[in-house]
């Protein structure tokens, strides 16, 4: 078996506001061993009195040297996410441990078509795949179906606009569940069969499907994909619950 994962000290180097409730934290983590897009890490905080709290966060981008990025969504009444968003300051240490997870990953040598289906903050590990695809010069055809409540809730909005224009072979479609932007074709709705058919790949193309979001979203989209004829073994899921 592999050696134990060790806790490393990481420090905040950059903070980017994604939405009113979510921020990307870029950490400097000396000795970080690298990771695959889709993997996550544990973040551990220690209080003055020795109390510790740890949470798992998806890695939002491929590592750049020792730099790693995670995107934190504020959980109301959470213990860790409000601290990371409101209090955690540049230069402050946290401990990180990872990478973790070897199933919900995309490997740049894969060239099969990919459907990424994101619900809300579930876009984070999928964004790591989109970024890794570009960084590796991959030509794997990617389609991202991104379900959000309103246009203000889109993570990485500017970058996604740019990538949809510049990253050849990457298509992005949005579904708005509460309020759609002007000019969007259709009424706000939850992802349904028509969205999956329009944005996804036919089962005959044997795409790999990565579905990430809240449980209800993942259950629904994974069931739709299986119902459309996709093999369950090619539908990989990650369900996000509130984790403080």
């Amino acid at each position: 078996m592999s050696a134990a994962l060790t806790w490393r000290v990481a420090r905040l180097v950059e903070r980017r506001v994604e939405t009113p409730t979510a921020q990307t934290l870029v950490l400097d983590a000396p000795g970080w061993p690298g990771h695959l897009p889709g993997q996550h890490l544990d973040v551990r905080l220690t209080a003055e009195d020795g109390y510790q709290a740890a949470r798992s966060y998806s890695l939002a981008a491929p590592a750049e040297g020792d730099r790693i990025a995670l995107t934190v969504q504020r959980v109301p009444d959470g213990e860790v996410s409000p601290y990371l968003i409101d209090v955690y300051a540049p230069g402050d240490p946290v401990e990180v441990r990872g990478p973790v997870g070897g199933w919900f990953v995309w490997r740049p040598e894969q060239d099969t078509p990919v459907l990424l289906a994101a619900g809300g903050s579930g876009v984070v590990p999928l964004m790591a795949m989109v970024r890794a695809r570009r960084a590796a010069g991959s030509r794997a055809p990617f389609r991202l179906l991104y379900s959000v409540r309103t246009p203000d809730d889109v993570f990485y909005a500017e970058e996604l606009r740019r990538r949809a224009r510049d990253d050849e072979g990457l298509d992005i479609a949005y579904v708005y569940t509460r309020r759609a932007p002007q000019g969007w074709d259709g009424e706000p709705h939850r992802v349904g069969p028509a969205d999956v058919t329009a944005t996804g790949w036919p089962p005959e193309n044997q795409p790999l499907c990565y579905v990430c979001g809240p449980t209800g979203f993942v259950e629904s989209v994974a069931d739709l994909l299986v119902g459309l004829g996709h093999q369950p073994a090619r539908v990989r899921t990650e369900r996000f619950g509130p984790t403080g």
């Binding site: 601290y83 240490p93 994974a222 069931d223 984790t243």
Partner: protein, 199 residues
């Protein structure tokens, strides 16, 4: 003690019984699994114990639910750090299912509808510590939580409590299952914080 993160205080600590290290309490019941939720019709459902010599013992749904039932109330601990106290289940003890099964095996590999597997020492399935559960909180177990029936081994991290369980293969050698080959610990004792391989 780790590196102090300035300004971090955490929630007020209460005097209630300790959780395993690194766990926090949740009131809801998060769902975690690697793929779509299998929908298993009861008329084709079966549970099979296969011994190391290939002998099989099978139960249909009717036969399984006619076995003596137990109603354990247990705390459960997920490796993703949530714990849930005092969960109510109904199911059949593995002691009942393994009674009369002739085996020299020391390991068990649980396998599920949908292809999931997880390994445990056979001793951990005996002694009133493990069940095949089919009801939760007084209701039939919902598919997203592993219904019609799941393994319930509350003294180990909850990924060992295989959802949609279809059978158990008894083995003389340990064989890592799905998450165990993806970097998670072979045994998974929450009280020793055996989360990842090598812990």
């Amino acid at each position: 003690m780790g590196i102090v993160t300035p300004g971090f205080q955490g929630r007020p600590r209460s005097a209630e019984p300790a959780l395993p290290p690194g766990q926090y309490l949740t009131e809801d019941f998060p769902v975690l699994s690697a793929g779509p939720t299998p929908k298993v019709p009861l008329d084709t459902w079966e549970f099979v114990i296969t011994t190391e010599t290939g002998e099989e013992v099978r139960w249909s749904w009717a036969e399984f639910t006619a076995l003596p039932q137990e109603t354990p109330t247990v705390d459960i601990h997920c490796v993703t750090r949530w714990s849930k106290r005092q969960t109510d289940w109904q199911g059949v003890s593995l002691d009942v299912l393994l009674d009369g099964v002739d085996t020299e095996a020391t390991y068990a590999l649980a396998h599920s509808y949908g292809g999931y597997t997880t390994n445990l020492p056979l001793a951990d399935l005996r002694g009133g510590r493990a069940w095949v559960a089919h009801r939760y909180s007084g209701r039939d177990l919902p598919p997203e939580h592993g219904g019609p029936a799941r393994l319930l081994v509350p003294h180990l991290y909850f990924w060992k409590s295989a959802k949609w369980v279809r059978g158990i293969r008894l083995k003389t050698m340990d064989e890592p299952g799905f998450w165990e080959t993806a970097g998670y610990h072979d045994y998974g004792d929450p009280w020793r914080e055996q989360r990842y391989a090598g812990d």
